[in-house]
């Protein structure tokens, strides 16, 4: 018998008319790249919501940037039908609501929102890789939300798969019998039907009061050029109906419902959403801030008394200056950020100016991948050329007079008498084959890490827990971890607090003038290395001038490193071939163009490319961070 419902069966699982017992809300969680989106593809096909010919890999990864990088950035919810046949042959149709989530640590907040809309989670583990750091992080989140966990091994088609070994591992972690761990291949589809059955059997149906005033939790809010803000909700109590007036409980703002529906995965307007259902609302608001994630939607005429517990906004952890390479693009950049913000509540920014780079913004991000993605989207979707300064974290500086300065930009680091500097600390979990313990410990040591504990997950796999300064992670920790473990280690981290540290600001001076974009806050022991690195790099990049240019690195008034760009002695073309003056003139015109694009620091002309090169080569390339 087919698990796809007949017409009569379909009638029983219509949106707004499905008994909660027939609903199953679940998400797929995993470490990055373990195959969540590919598994979701098979589910879309098996349940018949996406036709064979319309299918493409990672169907739910819709943004260009997701498709190019092969990673999920935004969670996607889809309603799918599925029929289960009982032992007695009776068929029961169910409406499944599946949410595919991102795996990268920067987007953990997306996962946690999705979890709040579900009663169950499929915990997917790559059968060739085993448990990784984000497997643990996401499992932990799911358990916190009291979700039913379905452990599943994926990619069993791979020759390198070791399903038996990892079944043990995962069963031990979740506390189930290894035999019960499902084995699937998102690629070939093996085991996916059984998984859908298992989901229906194991995930509890939602529970809510159908007669109570409506309460729905906003778990996502997305700006769409054509439709305005699309708000994704999970109804807890009561029912939301088309065309009624709704109210946001935090602000009491009311809106008319222009459209209500479910994603399947294209938007399908419905007669409303009932208890336990997941769907979307369109009210015509233009700004996602009017439809905030975590807020509770209720009926304006018959409002609920109490809001559902919300989420806190994700806090930016990493800051960096963002500048248009062509200064005249500044207004475009401002508008572009405003637009992107509509879609990305995690993005914060405010204007700043830099002597070296002109007008731009200081932007707060969730992490380096988030930084990279925001920048890439700005460049791509708004046709901008941008440069970002080296990322830094937030510091709290307590002055001797007890006043506190919060520093998000190194050049704001106060100069006077400093009492204490506090920096954010993360709890990092590193999973790796045990042969790399020594290398990892050594690395964490140099990154000012503090070992909190170590556990063997199996005979040859180990979990190390460290407290590490976020600033060290933001720099190049991940790259080094990967290279020291031949790519085998995985990392998850969570900001857990802050600590006092011996931090100083290193300034870079060009002929005595501070170049703001290059100031950095570093640990005292690393100030010298930073100074030597940056002065050396600028010496290579800045063209010789008509006079000697000293480049210094200084902590306060103390110079810790120095390089000198010698004065240029020759800048003249000897000859004009056969009177080929046009060629010479064009060269001159080109040079003059180049000169216009120079930034002048004091008397020193620096091509912007030099600043850009100096900045980009040392920000560890976050591009591969999208991938493990």
């Amino acid at each position: 018998m087919t698990p796809i419902p007949s017409a009569a069966e379909t009638a029983r699982i219509q949106p707004a008319a499905t008994a909660p017992e027939l609903l199953r809300n679940f998400c797929i969680i995993a470490h990055i790249d373990h195959g969540k989106s590919t598994l979701a593809d098979r589910m879309l096909q098996l349940t018949g919501v996406v036709e064979q010919r319309a299918m493409r890999a990672q169907y739910l990864d819709r943004m260009d940037i997701e498709r190019e990088r092969g990673i999920t950035i935004k969670s996607q919810a889809v309603r799918m039908p599925w029929v289960l046949e009982g032992t007695d042959g009776t068929r029961t149709p169910y409406a499944l609501n599946m949410i595919d989530t991102p795996g990268h640590v920067d987007f953990t907040y997306e996962v946690s929102r999705s979890l709040a809309a579900c009663e169950g989670a499929v915990l997917l583990v790559d059968a060739a890789q085993g448990i990784e750091a984000q497997t643990l992080a996401n499992l932990y989140l799911a358990m916190e939300n009291e979700l039913a966990i379905i452990p599943v091994l994926n990619k069993i088609d791979l020759p390198a798969a070791q399903p038996e070994k990892y079944a043990e591992e995962i069963a031990g972690l979740v506390g189930v019998d290894p035999e019960s761990v499902l084995k699937v291949s998102g690629k070939t589809g093996v085991g996916v039907e059984a998984l859908l059955d298992r989901i229906v059997e194991t995930v509890p149906p939602p529970v809510g009061d159908a007669d109570a005033p409506a309460r729905a939790m906003i778990f996502d809010s997305v700006y769409d050029t054509y439709r305005g803000v699309v708000t994704y909700v999970r109804v807890v109590d009561g029912k939301l109906n088309p065309r009624e007036r709704i109210s946001m409980m935090s602000t009491r703002a009311t809106h008319d419902l222009l459209e209500i529906g479910v994603s399947a995965p294209e938007p399908h307007p419905t007669d409303g959403l009932g208890v336990g259902e997941v769907g979307y609302l369109i009210t015509g608001v233009k700004d996602v801030r009017q439809s905030k994630v975590g807020d509770t939607v209720t009926n304006a005429l018959k409002p609920a008394a109490e809001a559902l517990g919300g989420y806190s906004d994700p806090k930016p952890m990493v800051f960096s200056g963002l500048y248009p390479i062509d200064g005249s693009d500044y207004p475009i950049l401002r508008d572009a950020l405003d637009k992107l913000k509509l879609n990305d509540a995690a993005l914060v920014y405010e204007p700043e100016t830099s002597v070296a780079l002109g007008f731009g913004f200081r932007v707060g991000y969730l992490g380096l991948l988030h930084l990279e993605i925001v920048r890439e989207r700005l460049e791509r979707e708004f046709d901008l050329d941008l440069i970002s300064t080296a990322p830094n974290v937030i510091y709290d500086v307590t002055m001797e007079d007890r006043s506190v300065v919060t520093v998000t930009n190194p050049s704001e680091f106060p100069g006077g008498k400093i009492g204490e500097v506090r920096e954010p600390v993360v709890k990092a979990t590193i999973l790796a084959p045990s042969e790399f313990i020594g290398a990892i410990m050594e690395l964490c040591q140099t990154k000012r890490g503090d070992l909190q504990g170590m556990d063997y997950l199996s005979a040859d796999r180990v979990e190390l827990r460290y407290f590490l300064p976020l600033a060290e992670i933001v720099f190049d920790f991940f790259d080094q971890l990967k290279s020291k473990t031949r790519g085998y280690a995985s990392l998850d981290y969570d900001v857990v607090g802050e600590q006092a540290a011996d931090l100083v600001k290193v300034d870079i001076l060009l002929q005595g003038e501070q170049v703001d974009a290059f100031s950095a806050i570093v640990h005292k022991d690393k100030a010298y290395a930073y100074g030597v690195m940056m002065t050396g790099k600028l010496k290579e990049l800045i063209p010789r001038q008509q006079f000697e240019v000293p480049i210094q690195a200084a902590v306060g008034a103390r110079v810790i490193a120095r390089e000198t760009i010698r004065a240029i002695r020759k800048d003249v073309l000897a000859k004009c071939y056969g009177g080929d003056i046009s060629r010479k003139r064009k060269l001159l015109e080109k040079q003059k163009e180049g000169k216009k694009r120079m930034k002048t620091i004091g008397r020193v002309d620096v091509p912007q490319e030099a600043f850009i090169a100096a900045l980009s080569s040392d920000a560890a390339d976050p591009k591969d961070k999208g991938k493990k």
Binding site: Q546, F547, R566, I568, R569, K570, D571, V572, L573, A574, K575, C576, Y577, G578, G579, D580, I581, S582, R583, K584, R585, K586, L588, E589, Q591, K592, K595
Partner: protein, 425 residues
């Protein structure tokens, strides 16, 4: 290969120029002719000039018929200038360059000069120079030239040091230089020597040896050019492969300064960034007037493949627009050059009509390089404001600036392009 021709507009098939708008008054500018001889016996490793060896040429445009072909362009030129309404001017300077003009029989060069006489007439006291390879001249050859009306010869000496000549792939024997200079002077010709500095492997002492050797011949004129390794040359390949190491800019600057000291001490004075000439009793210098004409923005007709020509304004376009000058350039390949002329067509490949600001930019770019300096009135207001800064930086001469001229100091000569960028802001 030689540098690509500039991008420009197509040139009309008959070579017609925009019309002279200066009424009956003749241009105040001198009129010169450059004749390009695009042949060499072998190609030197650093050379990217528009020149061809017999093998590179492959048939179809022989050296034997070159003088005849060039003469047909000269004839065409006389018509084109007259048709544009330009009042007739005699030729005041001629420069035959290459390539190696002296691969042609002296008689061919003489015929070309006769052609110029027929077409435009040679002014009294005209300066007529040919470049020459020290390898390929004899006393008789030089005498024939002098008899035909040549007044000056410029030898490609390049260096007096064998290993430097070898790196440059120059085949002549440096010991010949004093001889060829003496033969030329016996024939009554003024002599100039061309030197190159900054060849890979050349030490400062090597360079001193070369400059001193040039001075020892008693010549009145020396040109010294920094070696530029152009892309596409054999030498560029050798540098890329690491077989040759280029001297750095500082080394080249030091060599320039050394040359300037040695030449000045021997009574030669710079009159253009790369050119020195003997100071006469009246304070003038035995400069190459043809060379000066380029830097001063005078008019010239360039005969031969790849040659450039320039006629300054006031000219007027078909649409009545004012044109400050027209520059055009011939097709590069000798075979195509010959075919076009044989078909009665102008060999011009493209041209550029200059508007007033562009013409001014060029005048500044070229004029600043001269020891006579540039009239500050040529500069824009911003350019004039930049002068003080350049004087303060030691790149422009303060006294000259007060006197109304932009004149490079020695340091300024080495940074002339930077000065130009500043003055043309």
């Amino acid at each position: 290969m030689s540098p690509a021709l500039p991008d420009g507009d197509p040139a009309p098939a008959d070579g017609a120029l925009p019309r002279w708008a200066g009424g009956s008054g003749a241009p105040q500018r001198a009129f010169g002719v450059y004749v390009h001889v695009p042949f060499c016996t072998v190609r030197c490793g650093y050379c990217d000039f528009n020149t061809y060896t017999a093998t590179e040429l492959g048939g179809g445009a022989s050296q034997d018929s070159y003088a005849t072909t060039a003469l047909s362009e000269i004839e065409l030129g006389a018509h084109v200038l007259a048709d544009a309404g330009l009042p007739a001017r005699e030729v005041s300077t001629v420069f035959v360059g290459g390539g190696t003009p002296t691969v042609l029989p002296a008689g061919d060069l003489a015929r070309i000069l006769d052609g110029l006489r027929d077409a435009w007439g040679l002014a009294d006291g005209a300066e007529v120079t040919t470049e020459a390879n020290p390898d390929s001249v004899s006393p008789e050859y030089l005498r024939t030239l002098a008899d035909a009306g040549f007044t000056r010869v410029s030898f490609g000496m390049q260096s007096a040091v064998p290993h430097v000549l070898a790196t440059l792939e120059r085949t002549h024997d440096p010991a010949r230089i004093p001889d060829v200079v003496a033969w030329a002077r016996d024939a009554g010709l003024d002599v100039s020597l061309d030197l190159i500095y900054g060849t890979p492997g050349e030490s400062l002492d090597d360079w001193r040896t070369s400059v001193e050797a040039a001075l020892a011949t008693g010549v009145d004129h020396v040109s010294a050019y920094a070696l530029v390794v152009e892309p596409g040359t054999r030498m560029a390949v050798q540098v890329r492969r690491g077989e040759l190491t280029l001297p750095d800019e500082d080394d080249q600057a030091a060599k320039y300064e050394l040359a300037d000291e040695l030449l000045t001490a021997s009574g030669l004075r710079w009159y253009e960034v790369s050119n020195w000439a003997r100071e006469r009793a009246d304070g003038s210098v035995a400069a190459c007037r043809h060379n000066l004409a380029y830097w001063r923005g005078d008019d010239w007709w360039g005969v031969g493949p790849g040659a450039h020509s320039y006629v300054g304004g006031p000219l007027v376009g078909d649409d009545g627009d004012e044109i400050a000058g027209v520059r055009w350039w011939n097709v590069k390949h000798p075979r195509r050059y010959a075919t076009m002329l044989a078909a009665g067509q102008s060999p011009a490949a493209g041209r550029e009509l200059l508007d007033a600001p562009t013409a001014t930019l060029e005048r500044v770019m070229l004029g600043v390089r001269l020891a006579e300096g540039l009239d500050l009135a040529e500069l824009s207001a911003a350019g004039r404001r930049a002068v003080a800064g350049q004087v303060a930086a030691g790149l422009l001469d303060g006294r000259a600036a007060i006197g109304g001229r932009a004149l490079l100091t020695r340091r300024g000569r080495l940074l002339a392009d930077a000065v130009v960028r500043d003055l043309t802001d």
